[in-house]
Symmetry: C2
Subunit: 523 residues, 2 copies
């Protein structure tokens, strides 16, 4: 007698994902993933978001983790599909975002035949993943899936890559599996707390360097109390996965990032002793012929309060108690203040003013403004409370996908994407997904029509007076990119502005609209 119809491996995996609250799947499937698609069709409780390029998919999972604190799954088509998603996975890994990548693979028997799409998927996944496994038995797929989830959730967040051969997907599945709880964060011991308290009280000037979990509202307020008590400064790493800021929150500067080593050195020269809180000793983005790679002097006293995977909030609380600072009012609190309204032609400085004027409450700012946005912080620190997300991996094209993920995670919040024209092109297919899902994103494209950062970098590495061939390789104005056309081609409403009045009006439209709106800013 035939047994009752059981679910196949793919369905056991989808049900395991849903059971463990991994309930969003950013996907770009192919033939080898069709059983998984069939299972997504059958199982309710999982939201599928389609992308037209895999870098969009994996970047969206990054943004989703940053704003929801939990991993999404991605669905990728064999080795090349994973390869297309790798740069965004690199950024996610550096941002400590967890995700569960599900990568289709040929049947194990078919794999030996070297058909066109055959490649060594494990080898492709490994450099960008914390955990990689090929699931070889359909009955164990749900168990492997739970293991992928467990690893993705490990503090502070990890990259899991589960490789799914087609016959593992279509064979008979096992039971739904609950993933082990892996979110535990180690508490910092009392001795470390006491040592840091002494360090901060030794009469020398100190600065807290905040990163990772030290950038939440609660954690930054504790840092502000510690500063009030000890007089220490507070700064953040050059790029933050998610920084809580705005009126009523702490006003901190980031360490200047790529292309401006001298400014970073100058900031850290004044910082004195460093206390790392969820951060690493600061290093330059690139090495240069005549500049140091370390941004601090080698004799700088440095202590670490808590690493990024430890219980940072408890450590800051314990430190504040140890210092007798817990009842202090936090220092560096930003007051609500909109900057002056800019007018006339658009400059970088006026852009900052416009954004500071219009940023709505509870906005999520996804910042890939590269050179244009280096100094956006002062003009926006008094805007209503918001989160500010930067690229920690340096692989350009991060902005649009992360904005998608943030918007999916927080449908009730406005996402404001600050995007360079050069960087925006890497994952331009994102616009279609924004339109398809009607994601609430206002996209600002800074059309300086050049890889401007590279013009500076050519000088920084010692190439003086570059000739026309070098300049041509850094220039995007032949032909102009017309972002209004590009956006319309993918179903996103768009407008071009070239003065402050039009910019401010366009921002009003975008922020009022419930859905994607692109503003191409010519300056």
């Amino acid at each position: 007698m035939k047994s009752e119809l059981k679910m196949n491996g793919a369905e056991s995996l989808v049900r395991t994902l849903v059971h463990n609250k991994v309930d969003v799947c950013f996907s770009n499937p192919g033939t080898s993933e069709m059983h998984f698609v069939g299972a997504l069709d059958k199982v309710t409780g999982i939201r599928c978001v389609l992308g037209l390029f895999e870098g969009v998919i994996t970047g969206a999972a990054d943004g989703y983790f940053r704003m929801s604190g939990k991993p999404a799954s991605t669905l990728l088509h064999l080795g090349p599909g994973l390869a297309n998603g790798l740069a965004s996975i690199h950024n996610a890994k550096k941002a400590n975002s967890g995700m569960v990548n599900i990568i289709g693979q040929h049947t194990l028997q078919h794999l030996e035949l070297e058909s066109p799409l055959t490649s060594d998927i494990e080898a492709i996944a490994k450099p960008m993943s914390h955990w990689v496994k090929t699931s070889k038995k359909s009955e164990e797929l749900s168990k492997d899936g739970a293991e992928a989830i467990e690893n993705a959730k490990k503090a502070p967040g990890q990259i899991s890559s589960l490789i799914l051969p087609a016959d593992t997907a279509w064979g008979e599945g096992g039971d739904i599996v609950k993933a082990k709880d892996s979110t535990y964060r180690t508490k910092v011991d009392k001795e470390t707390i006491q040592n840091i308290a002494k360090f901060l009280s030794n009469g020398k000037h100190s600065t807290l360097l905040l990163g990772g979990g030290a950038l939440t509202v609660e954690a930054t307020l504790l840092a502000g109390k510690i500063s009030r008590k000890t007089g220490c400064g507070i700064i953040t790493e050059a790029a933050n996965a998610r920084l809580s800021r705005g009126a009523g929150r702490l006003d901190m500067l980031r360490i200047p990032g790529a292309g401006v080593v001298d400014r970073a050195l100058a900031m850290l020269d004044k910082a004195g002793q460093l206390v790392l809180v969820g951060s690493k000793p600061p290093v330059a983005f690139f090495g240069y012929p005549d500049k140091p790679s370390l941004l601090y002097r080698e004799d700088t006293p440095i202590m670490s309060l808590a690493d990024v995977d430890e219980d940072i909030l408890s450590a800051l609380t314990d430190l504040a108690v140890e210092l007798g600072a817990i009842n202090e009012s936090p220092k560096f609190l930003a007051e609500y203040k909109r900057p002056e309204v800019p007018n006339g032609n658009i400059t970088k400085e006026k852009l900052a003013l416009a954004i500071g004027n219009k940023l709505p409450e509870n906005a999520i700012v996804v910042d890939e403004s590269v050179t244009t946005g280096r100094d956006f912080f002062p003009a926006t620190s008094g805007a209503p409370p918001h989160d500010w997300l930067n690229n920690r991996g340096g692989a350009i094209g991060y902005g649009m996908p992360v904005a998608i993920g943030a918007a999916v995670a927080c449908p009730d919040r406005k996402v404001v994407l600050l995007e360079g024209d050069g960087s925006g092109m890497y994952t331009v297919q994102s616009l279609w997904t924004m339109a398809r899902e009607n994601l609430d994103i206002t996209i600002l494209i800074f059309a300086n029509r050049t890889y401007e950062i590279l013009r500076g970098e050519l000088t920084n590495v010692g190439v003086q007076n570059p000739g026309p061939r070098a300049v041509d390789m850094l220039t995007l104005d032949r032909p102009y990119l017309d972002w209004v056309h590009i956006a319309k081609g993918m179903g996103v409403e768009a407008i071009k502005v070239n003065d402050c009045k039009k910019l401010l009006d366009a921002l009003d439209i975008g922020i009022k609209k419930n859905g994607p709106f692109l503003i191409e800013i010519i300056f």
Copy 2:
């Protein structure tokens, strides 16, 4: 006393590339590649072609090799830049295209600091490369570059990945180095020739399966002579890197490819004994639950005349001599014949007729038409002589970049790109490079507004009556992609057509124009 100013490593590498006739560089540089850009600026004799995404760059190098027979170089920014280019490198590797990838890396000292863009570039490169090396001494960079070229030129063509730390680029360079000649192809021995001759004369029906170097005009004509003498059939692999065809050349069918296993089985069922000439025993694109992975019966007698890296032309010549076929007139020669002119609404069949009618002499057809173009061969076999390029790696997004490379290699020939709307989006940034370089490419976008191949595949893998969620994941019509807007946004003239008359008129415009022209075909 200071010695005279010597060239730096980057310049020694650029001069070594030019000296060895690797004189095109498809590039997307970043900070770590700025010395290389500086050297490109200084050294004449190398053409730089900028792309806005690395999959465009590496795919262009693939197309360039297919049409010029020599490797181009690519310039990629660190691990993520290479990662973005990997899918196109996968396709190039499967097409046996040689290329010299130059991948920037941090200075060796900076690498230890785990700055944002740090990754294990060698590990990322290895799965898709034949040769990988990190050049650690500026004085030896030109030697390493020559070794990269030597390996890229090895028959039939290989992927070299040279990793270039910034300090190797800016340190003092060595002398220009001539790469060893590595293009030698092994001759097939006399015994094999005689055995194949006997095999073809054993009274059973045989078919030559041509691939690689067996697809040139000369080689196919020799195959036609052999067929005339022995009565054997001639077919080609499912996807060919470059197939010479059209009026006066051999008329052959390809083995049906992805998604239509049954059709492929039916063709090979009639093929009888197989003689492989630059090809592999045919296997299905994917494995399916109830279908074989091998496209031939296991008891099929198979012999191999020459492997893809051997001297195929000599082997075919020797075989023709051995069989006494060298003076025969080739069988299967196509006569010049344009198909009937289609009219009314557009269908797949009428598309084939339209292309067969308008294809200009000496055209290069880059075919990523996926489902739409499965049956384009019969209607185009009598068109003037042309080359037909297919995707051998199966990673979608191959068409536009390969068209760029073909157009750069053959500026005096018209490139006709047959592109699906789904696949075209993966490397859509290509349009900008086409406009920038005014490449002579007529782009046909088949806007069926679906991943149509996957609809069939859902059934093929046994998912019957897919529900709305599955169908939604295979559909591109929410929102519509408007290719005319997208093209204009990147500087490419474009037109939308929805009947045969407009299509034929648009083809006339595109083919007459000297530069890129996009036709969005709604059907």
